[in-house]
């Protein structure tokens, strides 16, 4: 079976997000939102082959922890997970 998933990775809340702060400063400067809280992350859309849903989730978990993120500074969220065929 083939599954598709969307994974969001972002810095943990206690880590300073310099990119987010840069965006926030621009939002203040152009008058759209003053001192907005902005956090920037990455989105991964990927497909995995697995025998069933559990196996797909296990594989996905390994991909996330071994490749996509570093749990020392980042967190993840699987925002979509569905069977393609």
């Amino acid at each position: 079976m083939k599954f598709s998933a969307t994974i969001n990775i972002k810095l943990k809340k206690q880590i300073k997000d310099a990119k987010g702060e840069a965006v926030s400063a621009v939002l203040s400067r152009i008058g759209l939102e003053d001192k907005a809280k902005v956090r920037i992350g990455k989105i991964f859309e990927l497909e995995v082959n697995a025998e069933n849903e559990d196996a797909a989730k296990t594989k996905l978990n390994k991909i996330i922890f071994d490749v996509l993120m570093n749990p020392i500074v980042e967190t993840y969220e699987i925002t979509t997970f569905e069977v393609i065929n």
């Binding site: 880590i15 300073k16 310099a18 990119k19 840069a22 490749v67 996509l68 570093n70 020392i72 500074v73």
Partner: protein, 237 residues
Amino acid sequence: MNLASISYPQTGLKAAIAVFLGTNCEKETRMALEMAGFNVEYIFHTETNLEKFDLVVLPGGFSFGDYIKAGRLAKLSPVIESLREYVKLNKGFVLGICNGFQILCETRLLPGVLIENTKTKFISEDCALFFNNKEITIPIAHKEGCFWADEDTIKQIEKNDMVILRYKNNPNGSINNIAGLYDSKHHVIGMMPHPERAVLSQCGLADGKKIFEFLKTELLNFKKSCPTKNLSKKRVE
């Protein structure tokens, strides 16, 4: 400048420079190591036999384009798997410079992680640092060079004397001004500054030599104190 006037002492120490797709500092690293007396070989990131080397260097650059995050994809290379074994079995020393430091942190051979500089800029400048309680100046050139670790890890780092280099003016926001680290055994070294770019006084800076000379001395002492390493040396000879 007359490069022929540079002397290359012979120490018998063998160093490997691991070249990844996107590495770009291997040539100057080779020259700096040779000036310190190392016999140097390039190895590709698919190499798995590190047996004959006293030192493995992960040089600067942008391995695998730094895609996802600096060092993230390089940590999955075959050479890194062998490097874990190399470190575990005390086969020799490891030096990671800039991208090499990022790779060592991603692989957990060194604690903590390098995140984006607090000012988000790519910083390229000569940088004042403290090395063995003395001030030296070595160039830095990075965007993800802000060292971060949780409180407990920082306590361990300080308690075990694992900081090899500190920034004087902390240009990137690193915790405790950390610019370079040892592992707990002092066999694995990672640093954001580029000592290999400061080994010729004719080019303005030569403080990087102090790092390579220090490394050479430490390695020679390590080999003297390590009987298995001496045995393997005899076999090779």
